[in-house]
Symmetry: C2
Subunit: 473 residues, 2 copies
């Protein structure tokens, strides 16, 4: 063989291998090098608060790019319409009624609550620890502020954040609600005596909320850089755009949407920093980032509340606006880009990431989450076809496929009406009638029967956990 022929053959092989190494092969999880996971969880962000979900004036270029490069989910649910139960469900993959992290007495934990997430529950951090993941919890916890309930006693290697909502420990005298018709309003971080914790120690009180979003994002960026040589899991739970609203630096006063827009745009900027870090460290191809929120917008706070877009009602209710969330999965090496209008839930993240990390699900308990990995990687149909809508420990509504039956409806915060029991239930085709306006119960007794069967099956094996939210000091 002439040297020149060998030269061309070598060049050919080289170019082929370059092509191969540059093209991510979707679905190729290497068990010896499982993917990293990042959950970015917003607080009280509404379905309609990102540009890519139809907001006219909040500019979220980083989340929009994330949606374009990844999967944009449009029927994805939090497991509760308020904070504490929603977070418990996300981290355990279970309905909060099972863990006792929902209650008919108090809807969330307060600074004087006695309890928190039971030690018997397995968090996603504990689960991933079985495969040696390093993990960080950054941001709002709200699953118990006493030492034994904090993130570092629930599987996380480290914690940096506030233990409950940013409007708790209120020591000011401003009626925020009255002022929130227009932004900005003059609210001081000193009006809230919320502590900032490093692991289990208070390092700042009141937490300086003016730049807290930026600090959370920077914390995540540092963690990525420090742990780039091992599998890691970051749970970044921003405590905003829950009121009181704070934004820092260039973001303050920058958004057409006012202060609420400033806050969301600063969160969006943090998402951009995190994705940029993943690209620069070469980790992007083997990392999955999911962005979502804990519940719908807190509507009584007017322009300081988000928008549920076309969905009905907001936080605190079992209408779609209370529990359906803008949800984006991103991972250029693993997630197949596209729009997914099938069902998903924050509870599914536990099972999905467990599968991807090669960890078996616990066999001693019911896990409500479904494994979405085939949908994420290959765009196969979602395994989830139903959703249960709890308020406290009561099942108010259930969805099966296109249809949702409301057995009980109840507004919240003085909006959307008093408690009403419906027999027959109200029935909506929520894929066609996206704002839940046209009750079609009379036309579809057979669908009501199917949904009732779903609920009976669920209740037949339901053991309600001891109420962890009721007791206060």
């Amino acid at each position: 063989m002439a040297y020149s022929t060998i030269f061309w053959k070598l060049l050919y092989s080289l170019s082929i291998s370059m092509i191969v190494s540059q093209t991510p092969i979707h679905g190729q999880i290497d068990p010896s090098n499982p993917p990293n996971f990042i959950i970015i969880f917003a607080d009280d962000l509404g379905y309609g608060d990102l540009s890519s979900y139809g907001n006219p004036t909040i500019h979220t270029p980083n989340l929009d790019r994330m949606a374009h490069e990844g999967q944009k989910w449009t029927n994805f649910y939090a497991a509760a319409s308020v904070c504490t139960p929603s977070r418990a469900a996300l981290l355990t993959g279970r309905l909060p009624v099972r863990s006792g992290m929902s209650s008919n007495i108090h809807r969330v934990l307060f600074p004087d609550s006695k309890n928190g997430l039971p030690a018997s529950e397995i968090t996603l951090a504990e689960q991933l620890k079985k495969a040696g993941y390093a993990s960080a919890c950054i941001g709002k916890w709200h699953l118990g502020h006493k030492e034994q309930y904090l993130p570092t006693n629930n599987g996380f290697d480290s914690y940096f954040g506030i233990p409950y909502s940013n409007d708790m420990d209120f020591i000011g005298n401003t009626d925020y609600n009255k002022l929130a018709q227009e932004s900005p309003i003059a609210i001081k971080m000193e009006d809230y005596n919320v502590p900032l914790l490093q692991n289990t120690k208070i390092i700042e009180r009141p937490a300086n909320q003016n730049n807290i979003t930026q600090r959370y994002s920077e914390e995540a960026v540092s963690f990525i850089k420090e742990h780039k040589d091992e599998p890691f899991f970051i749970y970044l739970a921003h405590n905003l755009p829950h009121i009181p609203l704070f934004a820092s630096g260039n973001f303050l006063g920058s958004s057409k949407r006012g202060l609420y827009g400033d806050v969301v745009e600063e969160i969006d900027n943090g998402v951009g920093l995190i994705l940029k870090t993943l690209k620069e460290t070469g980790l992007a191809e083997n990392t999955i980032v999911v962005f979502t929120s804990d519940n719908g917008p807190w509507l009584p706070f007017k322009t300081h509340a988000g928008s549920a877009g076309p969905l009905k009602a907001g936080k605190g209710t079992t209408w779609e606006g209370g529990m359906r969330e803008p949800t984006i999965f991103w991972g250029p090496g693993l997630v197949k880009p596209g729009l997914v209008s099938e069902l998903g839930s924050t509870m599914d993240i536990f099972a999905t990431f467990s599968t991807m990390a090669g960890i078996e699900l616990p066999k001693d308990r019911i896990i409500d989450g479904k494994d979405l990995s085939e949908t994420l990687i290959h765009h196969k149909p979602s395994p989830r076809n139903s959703m249960l809508y709890y308020r406290g420990t009561e099942l108010y509504a259930a969805r099966l496929g296109d249809f949702k039956a409301h057995f009980i409806t109840e507004g919240e915060y003085g909006q959307f009406g008093e408690l009403e029991v419906h027999d027959p239930p109200l029935l909506y085709n929520v894929n066609q009638d996206i704002s839940e306006n046209f009750n079609i119960a009379g036309n579809h007794p057979e669908i009501i029967e199917q949904i009732k069967k779903l609920v009976e099956d669920h209740k037949s094996n339901l053991v309600k956990g001891k109420d962890q939210l009721a007791e206060r000091e």
Copy 2:
């Protein structure tokens, strides 16, 4: 100079010229080869009816890609909340109150209306003809069905479409409204005796609406191919998703959103065919396509109506849901991609395309449209800072920057209340309070004064045209 040096120099020049020819330079309009223009105009499509504008279940991948590659406008207005005046304004760049194409007696033209767009008005087709553009009108006209009012007598070289709304000439006996709570409903094209015209001749009656969207799109594709060697203008005005709804072939029964979704997805597919044709014919770099709609969703038709997303009310009203439209400008060689949340209006298209084609605006009349070309090409701030909201010949509301004042509000089709005069006007910051919920008139008398001044200035030079919609046979 050695031959080898010359060879490398030549190769270098060649590669540079290749790079230059492959990289579109934004804003380089060649006066000797002005851009082609395509307006794709939907009928009764709501602000929230595309995936990229937040719809959860209507999949519009072609329009979403168009928005990603082009400019997505989020504060873009039709000039009226119903069909006839909106179309008159789009094609003339003028408020319909000036041309007489709005009325307090009948809101639109009917099959027994006597008149149409006055011959004295200059349509965009007539305007572009000054620079030798070939032009086609495809779809719904609704500016007069008598011969002298038809597109070919208003500057267009050809016409293929229906002369008024697709629900007119009703000869069936179905109460569509009652049935539209759920889709599909059994409605026959024969229930509507609407004619299909080729230029000024009826070629089909009733028009076969089952595949009409597809035929319109194919007509546009053919026109592009036939006119690829000269500047052209296509006005493609789909008569759907105005009720009655029809979809064809694979689209019928395919959308999670039901029949309304089928219809919008077939329109989206047509957009894809048009953009593909532009790319294949090499015209994409020198063509601007704009997609928008004539007014908001016709809400009483329930699941057969669209969604205004987070905006209030719909068709027929001067709330935002009645007149703000999803609007996308695309042109890979000319339009700088991005999100534009500044103001624009369908009336601006006349001035913008005139400028781009190097044609002077008429000097003998008031043109209400602004030239958006610097915004499209260079992403400069929009020259539009205000919007006037007419209902018939009465000014109901006016917007200046972030703020909108309602002097009169009135619902329509039995929804959103009776006529109410407001003094002081209701005042909303529509960029912050996107659903027009929080009246802040009491806080901002100075803004109300500014808006009143804007209205006075406008009225001081307003000559209302003779009502062309009032007379019927």
